[in-house]
Symmetry: C2
Subunit: 256 residues, 2 copies
DNA sequence: CGCCAACTTGATGGCTGTCAAGTCAGGTGG
DNA sequence: CCACCTGACTTGACAGCCATCAAGTTGGCG
């Protein structure tokens, strides 16, 4: 446990102490992410109850951590703006990105089981999260059935998502993985009102590779190849999907 | 509430595979798996409330399904005896085993998010599960805080477990994966009072390979090699771990 | 302008997939 | 009881995908 901290402290976490903590009351009832986030499906009255539950927002600068593995678990976080990655670090130094999270998505549910976080959450751009004290959420969801149900769905969705990643890591080849990754990002940006075809990657090739179980060179080569055959155009972190169908066909193709 | 029992009995699935349905009342309060299963941490009184919630047990013969992908979600299942696998099937024919479950573990949480199961659960030996109607579980956990908390922990544990598998698939080599798999099984058998060193594999090499993202030949070779170097002895599905430490060292070793 | 991290591209090697042949164990029927 | 059959497993040979190592390019920032 303690030796893990040595590994993590390298860069981002030294800067973690001076987190800006706003005492601003957040208000789900006035948040435009309602339909993506925890309040989904709640009545106006119920959302107002949620308002009182969410104490503070927290601003996290690019590169800084929101929580880290080993830390006590107190709250889950709803991303109000920005972009995060979560990663797990093994004692031997190996690590892997377990997910990328964007606005409206919930962070920190890994910590519930052992009352201790089991992964690190790091902002990939300046971000803001709503802090949801977990005991309070449980308390409210004992009274508000729709909230209880929706929270269970959020947790379950995380399980289903993880199964998808396991499928990707276990059965797909490099280019299939990257295609699936791009289409997933595209779909999630679409759900947030952004362009499905054009977006900016917040993460490095190395982080993509870590997530996909590949080395950064392989990711880079796959990007180049996709560009050669006209599926996408890439310029550094700017992605333009030119042939959505081509990418989809690549994934569903038998690997033979 | 009542329509749930109908769902179980007139399930179209019963027409495909003849499931044996017992009307026996189950009783968590008299179950020796309490400490591993959903009742963990509950008081005597609270466990009695759980008793009333669990309607029926269901017997599943080896090779039969408990639920399958696409089916409506009504209940989660606690394994009372036996052994299961869950797998996901892609349209193109690729499939992957996403987990192996043993007594006391909970099946079916993948179905909560979309109210439809997203994977198949198949018995690898004759098994028996306690059917826990999900709406009832939610109802009771609104009244019993310890149950609510524990159920959240169970879901969270599934997320953490999946992260472990992602780590395994994304960063480990074939023999490391198999070593991690064997140690995980050993530890779970131990928690159930069985030998840590000697056990019987319920799954085929192909199923192990699918879970670990490997081909069955690779699994077989890794078993043979482990035997050569004295880590284990294998005879078909019978495993004897001879050098626990050796396996652990293999995993934590840098892959270089 | 110069530095550095991120990225691209090439050459090579190794792990694991693929194909193939053979062995083993368990179950069935004559 | 035994021959037979089938599915599961083992082992070998070879090939391909991706990791590794290396060198060069680009873009952002002080």
């Amino acid at each position: 446990m303690t030796q893990i901290k040595q590994q993590v402290t390298d860069d981002s976490y030294c800067n973690v102490i001076p987190l800006t903590l706003t005492t601003l009351k957040t208000a789900c009832s006035q948040c435009n992410l309602r339909e993506l986030c925890l309040p989904f499906g709640l009545s106006e009255e119920e959302i107002h109850k949620l308002d009182s539950l969410i104490g503070v927002r927290r601003r996290i600068k690019r590169g800084q951590g929101l929580y880290r593995s080993g830390e006590g678990f107190e709250a889950i976080y709803a991303i109000r703006s920005g972009f995060f990655k979560t990663d797990v670090l093994l004692e031997d130094g190996r690590d892997q990105v377990t997910g990328f999270q964007m606005t409206g998505e919930i962070l920190g549910m890994d910590g519930i089981s052992g009352e201790t976080h089991t992964c690190n959450a790091v902002a990939l751009e300046d971000s803001e999260v709503c802090v949801i004290p977990f005991a309070d959420l449980e308390g409210l969801s004992r009274n508000v059935q729709t909230l209880q149900r929706h929270f269970h769905k959020v947790m379950s969705r995380e399980i289903v998502r993880d199964h998808g990643v396991m499928m990707l890591l276990g059965t797909m080849r490099a280019e299939e993985r990257l295609a699936a990754f791009l289409l997933n990002l595209s779909q999630r940006f679409t759900a947030r009102g952004y362009s499905a075809a054009e977006f900016h990657l917040r993460m490095t090739r190395e982080e993509i590779g870590s997530y996909l179980g590949l080395k950064l060179e392989t990711v880079s080569r796959a990007f180049s190849h996709f560009q050669e055959v006209g599926y996408i155009s890439v310029q550094q972190k700017h992605i333009h999907i030119l042939d959505n169908h081509g990418l989809k066909k690549l994934i569903s193709h038998q690997h033979g």
